[in-house]
Symmetry: C2
Subunit: 109 residues, 2 copies
DNA sequence: ACATTTGTTCCACAGTATAGGACAAATATG
DNA sequence: CATATTTGTCCTATACTGTGGAACAAATGT
């Protein structure tokens, strides 16, 4: 297992952090599409959630079913401290690498 | 080909942007190890450089050999505008997702 | 000639990203 | 009650990215 988070892994953890209240798959997906302005397939999302939980960055459990049409039990998620720390490490590293790069566009003569 | 950059791809592009003067493999590698504080194997670096060039984010060419022991021709790199734009897109997206997350650590009660 | 130094390429494999269909579990309805 | 509809998760297959290290290439040194 790599010491660092992939791009999409970061986005998923951040979406959960933003939502806060034990969100489940559907809201998480919506939050990513809205916040990152990027299409997300269901499969991609759950695969990543599984991996993040296996790494100990996330915890999940099943809620009770609700009395609504299709209101089956939902798999809720919570960001664990280790997840937040991994997120911070990635951010710190990227921020550090961006220092001194600025607006020069990279096409110097 | 994904629309977004992987974590390591970002780091490689940033290292080249920071170095500026048509750097080649060895200095790029050193810059990453120093700047990102992360170990980089040669193979990992060149594989990523090749992919970034194939995507049109980077341009490379071979320099003349120099009169030094082992001073063979070097493969020099330059960040292309498309590379800088891709980098900016990734940064903008991550910055947007970080908004509202702050220091709460993610382990709310 | 052959050793040493510096650099790059190749190869094999692990890990991450992606899409979409299959499947499960609830209520609605005739 | 049998079946349709709705909501949500799981599974499977495949492409792309990340990884390390050995092999190879091309200079000068001795």
């Amino acid at each position: 297992m790599s010491e660092y988070l992939g791009e999409f892994e970061q986005i998923v953890l951040l979406a959960i952090a933003r939502l806060g209240e034990s969100p489940y798959g559907v809201p998480i997906r919506r939050e990513i599409e809205k916040g990152a302005r990027r299409r997300v397939s269901v499969g991609a999302l759950y695969a990543t959630l599984d991996r993040l939980e296996a790494k100990g960055y996330l915890h999940s459990w099943f809620s009770e079913a609700t009395a609504q049409r299709g209101g089956r039990s939902k798999r809720c998620f919570r960001l664990l401290p280790a997840g937040f720390e991994a997120l911070s490490r990635s951010k710190t590293m990227l921020d550090r690498m961006w220092q001194g790069v600025s607006i020069e566009g990279g096409s110097r003569a």
